[in-house]
């Protein structure tokens, strides 16, 4: 760039600023439609957790998948490849992102002491310790090893477990093994209801 061109450019710049200051700048080019918000987002396949149709989902989260980003899901839509829902989702499924990101999601273990009217945050370590203590005390006191006829029954009736029918099979197996190893019989799932 020679000096002359430089001056020209400056002059042009000054003129443009002056014009724009007067509000006479030509309007911007037509804004294109809103940027497609999923470009580059990480896509993960999942299934809807609500009813038993088992619709396929595509979940989109920010971040490349690289180690330094914390993925947060910002959009969920139906998986068009899924042979049952073929992309469709009902009103519940279409709003799943607000379930994942609900302001009422629990974040930390909490404890409510007898008679107390408030929650206290506790660590997982303390939670496991305290719960296991309560369970063991109850089990040791109340496990029925033999029934009146002398048959080994090894059942623990004073603690029960109501299990979810929303969790995956794998958690279900862990729960089943956990519960039966302790001798729990009063196990139910919301499957009934």
């Amino acid at each position: 760039m020679n000096r002359r061109q430089f001056f020209k450019l400056c002059a042009a710049g000054a003129a443009t600023s002056a014009i724009s200051a007067l509000g006479l700048m030509s309007e911007k080019a037509y804004a294109a439609v809103r940027e497609f918000k999923l470009i580059g987002a990480k896509e993960t396949r999942n299934n809807c957790p609500y009813c038993s149709v088992g619709c396929g989902l595509l979940m989109y989260s920010q971040g490349s998948g690289g180690k330094n980003s914390e993925h947060a899901i910002f959009h969920i839509e139906g998986d068009a490849d899924h042979p049952v829902n073929r992309g469709a989702l009902c009103s519940k499924g279409a709003g799943l992102v607000d379930y994942v990101n609900s302001p009422h999601r629990l974040q930390y273990p909490e404890y409510r002491a007898p008679g107390s009217n408030k929650w206290e945050r506790i660590s997982w370590h303390d939670a496991f310790k305290r719960i296991a203590r309560l369970m063991k005390d109850d089990r040791d006191a109340n496990l029925i090893e033999k029934n009146a006829d002398g048959v080994t029954v090894n059942r623990w009736l004073t603690t029960g477990m109501m299990t979810s029918s929303g969790m995956a099979n794998e958690s279900g197996l862990a729960t089943q093994k956990f519960a039966r190893a302790l001798g729990l019989v009063a196990i139910d799932t919301i499957a009934r209801n």
């Binding site: 080019a29 804004a31 439609v33 809103r34 839509e77 469709a88 009902c90 279409a94 992102v97 607000d98």
Partner: protein, 304 residues
Amino acid sequence: MATQDIIQRSGTSQATPPAQARVGGVKQIAKLFDATKCNGCKACQVACSEWNDLREEVGSFQGTYQNPASLSPECWTLMKYNEIEDQGKLRWQFTHSACMHCADPACLKACSTSGAIVQHANGTVDFDSDKCIGCGYCASACPFDIPKISAVDNKAYKCTMCSDRLAVGLEPSCVKSCTTGALRFGTREDMLFSAEKRVNELKERGFAKAGLYNPEGVGGTGMLMILHDVTQPETYEMPKDPQIPLSVTLWQDWVKPLGTVGLLATAAVACLHKITVGRNIVEEDQPGYQPPEDKAQAEEEAKK
């Protein structure tokens, strides 16, 4: 970046058409809402809000399944519910209420701002919110009562037909989500074809008045509707014969040109008058003016 596929643009005349070089291969698209296949599940409504990142306030029960109570700047698609008795048989009728994407959009015609409302070559009518000034002309012009002005940012909002999805080759979010196939999406040609087929099917199934709602008054719509009884669209809360309102036509097609002529004529007459008649001055007030008696006196003195 210009889309270069805009066929109508608010606030411009035919003398200054928008950039539309890239319309050659573009097909008109349409969304087909088949009320006879809808069960009012609201998937479309929620999918719309989800995709477009809209969250209306949580309302309250108003004696109907319809929630929110109406379309709003944060609700661009709304299911409406009506209980109709037809020949002694109860029918629960649902309306997918959203922008109709008229071929001849009253909103665009009424818009006060260049390019704030555009019509793409594929037929969708889209609002450019950065340009929108919130005059609300579109809201009052729309025969379907669709655009809503936000009290927060004073801009008009409505269904964009998910123009951002269309731009990358996807279908609108509502259509993708529809559980029963009551919403379909495709080229206008295909949609008209399948609508005709479906209407015939319905007639065979006993819906003698079934038909396609594609009102001519607005040049046809980008959302086509199959109704059980097309003779009574009011029962779906749809206008019977939607038109560009007379007020808009009168205003844009008559008042504007006549007004312009009037203004120019006034100015012209004024100029002409000025040129022909000239100044209208009070001579006495002019500098160097001598009243006649002074003048006569002066002349007399000169004679002396």
